[in-house]
Amino acid sequence: MKTNGGAALIKALELEGVDVMFGLPGGAILPVYDPIIDSPIRHILVRHEQGAGHMAEGYAHATGRPGVAMVTSGPAATNIITPLADAYMDSIPMVVITGQVGTAGIGTDAFQEVDTVGITRSITKHNELVTRAQDIPRIVREAFHIATTGRPGPVLIDIPKDLVDPTNPNSALDWYWPDSVDLPGYNPRLDGDPELIEAAARLILAAERPILYAGGGILKARAAEALLALAEMLDIPVVTTLMARGAMPDDHPLCLGMPGMHGNYTAVTAMQESDLLIALGSRFDDRVTGKLDGFAANAKIIHVDIDPAELGKVRRPDVGITGDCRLVITEMINALKILGGADKQPDRSAWKSTISGWQEKFPLTYVQSEPGDLLKPQFVLEQLRDNTPDDCIVASGVGQHQMWTAQYWKFNHPYTWINSGGLGTMGFAVPAAIGAKVGRPDRMVWAVDGDGCFQMTAQELVTAAAERIPVKIAILNNAYLGMVRQWQEMFYEERYSEVYLSPDLPDYKMWAESMGCVGMRVESPEDVLPAIQRANEVDDRPVVIDFRTDAREKVFPMVPSGKSNSDIVVGPEDYR
């Protein structure tokens, strides 16, 4: 069948099962926007291309399916750089299509030409500049395969205009759809080496103080059930990193919650004191380990990751296993059973009671506000957590509000927590929440955002209002770039430099209303619950609540940057 590159591109996306894409048209990608009119794929018109990228990420986080974004060349391609880098750092499956100037114009500094594949080479899992229309079906097929298999990640396809423009002979091709991909240099290993799995099982059964260190890879591998089975089989406590919140239910007695710079005392210290860390889909990020040479100094390491380059990158494992976490954990459970299972373990009751002692002694705490004072952000989060469904999806921006959400929320289901971990992208929350709601319309979706973050991508609420995507945004408005303020307070002698934002400029309620949302403002504790309840009832448009919170509140515990996890600062009373 004769066709053209633009029609072939859309058809290929349909065959990949794409039901929605996020984008914004322009000159170079114009021809592809014509066949979209007749396609069953829903296109969501964003207000800024960064929004399209983060929406695709939010969609992927919430559904496990690859997010798709399509934008034009030049400034649109550069606008979507941040989401690409974000998806690369957090291993999010995403396919981004960028328009490019016509093949004859490439390299001539043509209007809206940038070297998109050059710019994005180090922040994509793979990228490809299409040079012949005939390659389009194959390249699309490969892009989805690469984005979704192995360690997932973003793949970018850059398509010159002449190859998709039906009036240009360069766009002609004979339609085909490859039934498999031929990528000789790409063979991710899925099952673990049985000998290494047995070695790991022996280490686990001999350990006195083991900890399961679950990372985002557990969620990518759909391995939450396997993790739970392993933890319960051997009665081993689990920490869930920022990227793995929800991979183990927070209400489960074996779940210790989040480790790391702002982790809780028990999770941080249990890792620190353990004699065996079983790292599953986690990568010893510096925000988790603190000062490396003081990190879990007496622990042996089992490290399971689908990306062999992670094994030994930061900390040399005693047993390093390349493979898919779900398969490897399942194989490990079998190996453990063969070796005699839980009965063969040493008595760990002392370790367990040490841990519960820490939990009792060092819970997360804050002091409720005095009447007339601003709200405590933690209080707002507790109210929100306790008055939304258990499977509510929560997205966040980056800053104090993100850390408080990660700490105070109870994540009892996988894929309910969406945040920017590796890149720490301010402005992530609003578009990511929109993408998540598009992917999971059956779920309630809240974003907890900072006032600083909100101002970076709020315009996408116009998209949400226009498309009737009823997300709910709680702004923890402390009138500051709060996380930076916290560092200046603690480490720069309270010399506040360029962190004040003002609580009233902009007027968030009016801004929300002008974008077609319901806008509210809450200043006192007794108004928090009614506002949340009112927001929960709105189902035909987005809601924004401006919660006025206390800027003096700081995120604790905290392992100061560059310090060892053993130097954890539990609360404000012990940091000076």
Partner: protein
């Protein structure tokens, strides 16, 4: 240039890649991005023109070789990677140099060149262009000899290598 490249901090990685536009940029970009230093790099298609072989001499003090290899292996267009320890490889490199060689001493110079196993490719009134193919060590020695004359230009290809058979 390091005058003593046989020191162990250099390692050879032989990378078989798909012969496609941009692949060399992916490989060299990865080195730059991860802070690994390239000492020399040589690239050309293999007998199968859909593939190219890139021979990279890396400064392993800049990063552990294992990380370099694993990161390279993640590139979709990289097909195969061989790490060649200095003793396990057959290595060759080519040197071209144009040096000042006045007529008066030209004859002596020509003898030196011949003794070194090099060849004179081109000669003018005051300058001579010579070439030597050999091991990196032989080229180093020859470069020292040339340095006793004013060198107008000197160019080395960077080494190519294949695993030793015997």
């Amino acid at each position: 240039m390091n005058t003593n490249p046989s020191v162990v901090r250099h390692h050879i990685i032989s990378v078989l890649v798909e012969n496609k536009p941009g692949v060399l940029a992916r490989v060299s970009g990865l080195f730059a991005r991860r802070g690994y230093n390239i000492f020399s790099l040589a690239v050309a298609p293999t007998d199968d023109d859909r593939r190219s072989r890139i021979t990279i001499v890396v400064d392993v003090e800049s990063a552990p070789l294992e990380q370099i290899v694993k990161q390279l292996d993640k590139l979709i267009n990289v097909l195969e990677i061989d790490e060649l320890a200095p003793g396990d490889a057959v290595e060759r490199e080519l040197l071209l140099a144009t040096v000042e060689s006045p007529q008066a001493t030209r004859q002596t110079f020509a003898v030196q060149v011949e003794v070194a196993g090099a060849r004179i490719l081109d000669a003018g009134d005051d300058t001579v262009t010579v070439s030597l193919e050999g091991t990196p060590d032989e080229l180093d020695q020859f470069a020292l000899l040339l340095a006793t004359h004013p060198v107008v230009a000197l160019q080395r290809t960077g080494r190519v290598a294949l695993p030793k058979i015997g």
